[in-house]
């Protein structure tokens, strides 16, 4: 009896410390997984919102084109423009001054660049400049954990109405 009691004396401090360490590491892992989960799900929501904002940017450029090609051809090339909407005239316009961050999260930019064509009218990197087509890049960026995330779309817009 004495012998059994002596060997089952309970935990030593080292054993308790090891148990503590294991539990701490486990709960730390749980917390970091949960936090990563929140981060990813926030990111997914922002991605969807940004996707719609990009689509809006593309359509905004199209409404400007629909009001006359001269506006599009008047934009400076490789210059950052910001789309803004006038709610009293219900029109989209592009300006070089930043109208501010959308929804306190997103920044949306539009950049026009030149389109060159070869003798077969195919778009090439160097050739004759096509004044009736522009390459447009719409980009939406937003701050995220560890810097900034951005999404962009590039498309061609052509003078199809004149």
């Amino acid at each position: 009896m004495h012998f059994i009691l002596h060997t089952n004396r309970g935990f030593t401090i080292i054993e308790v410390l090891i148990a503590c360490a294991i539990i701490s590491v486990t709960s730390f892992a749980l917390i970091s997984t949960a936090q990563k989960g929140i981060q990813l799900s926030n990111q997914a929501l922002r991605q969807v919102q940004a996707g719609l904002l990009i689509e809006e940017g593309v359509e905004a450029v199209k409404t400007i084109r629909d009001n006359g090609w001269s506006t599009i051809s008047g934009f400076a090339l490789n210059t950052i423009y910001y789309p803004s909407f006038n709610t009293s005239t219900n029109t989209w316009s592009l300006g070089t001054t930043n109208p501010g961050i959308l929804d306190s999260v997103f920044t949306r930019t539009v950049v026009f660049s030149e389109v060159n064509r070869d003798s077969n009218d195919d778009i090439v990197s160097s050739g004759t400049v096509d004044a009736r087509t522009k390459k447009v890049t719409v980009e939406v960026s937003w701050p995220s954990s560890g810097g900034s995330t951005s999404k962009a779309i590039t498309f061609y817009i052509a003078d199809i109405f004149t």
Binding site: C20, I23, S27, A34, I38, L45, E56, T87
Partner: protein, 170 residues
């Protein structure tokens, strides 16, 4: 004799063990609450994301296919807006598409009959504005949508924006 053999604990030992136990309990309970909170936040995010993308995708598709906006049947420029579009169905017949908020749900009608609700039971629409853009060559609709989750105690609102040119107006 027996008690002397097992020794028991000294006050210092008990203090150390109680302190350890308390610290551990705090760590475990804290991680438990963090995990629960993140589960809740993820669910709210998913509800907002699902409702927002479903509503915006469907409305965008309908606007893109439409031939004109029925201005008299629509409520434009203010919230909560109503949008009625003149469109053609897949068979090529002339019909209408309507988006309206009824009893807190965003319902879609085609040709006057209810298709279904685009917003689920988990969200409420707090702001919906349709703006009609008229250009020289056609028309476009700007949609502004704000949705709020209604299932969790912590309320979140998210905004979704889109502008779509009515391809049928070209």
């Amino acid at each position: 004799m027996r008690t002397k053999q097992t020794g028991g604990y000294s006050v210092i030992e008990i203090l150390i063990y109680v302190a350890l136990f308390a610290t551990l309990s705090i760590a475990v309970i804290n991680s438990y609450t963090v995990v629960l909170a993140s589960f809740g936040a993820t669910r709210v995010n998913r509800e907002l994301l699902e409702a927002g993308s479903t509503i915006m995708e469907r409305m965008s598709r309908e606007v893109r296919q439409a031939t004109s906006v029925d201005v008299t049947s629509s409520v434009l420029g203010s919230s909560l807006g109503v949008l009625q579009l003149n469109t053609t169905d897949t068979a090529g017949y002339v019909t209408t598409s309507k988006f309206i908020i009824e009893n807190g749900l965003l319902n879609m009608y085609t040709g006057g009959s209810l298709v279904g609700s685009l917003s689920g039971a988990h969200v409420s629409i707090t702001n919906l504005i349709f703006r009609k853009i008229t250009t020289t060559e056609g028309e476009a609709i700007k949609i502004e949508l704000t949705i709020q989750n209604s299932t969790s105690k912590t309320l979140r609102t998210e905004n979704f924006y889109n502008t779509i040119v009515l391809r049928g107006t070209y």
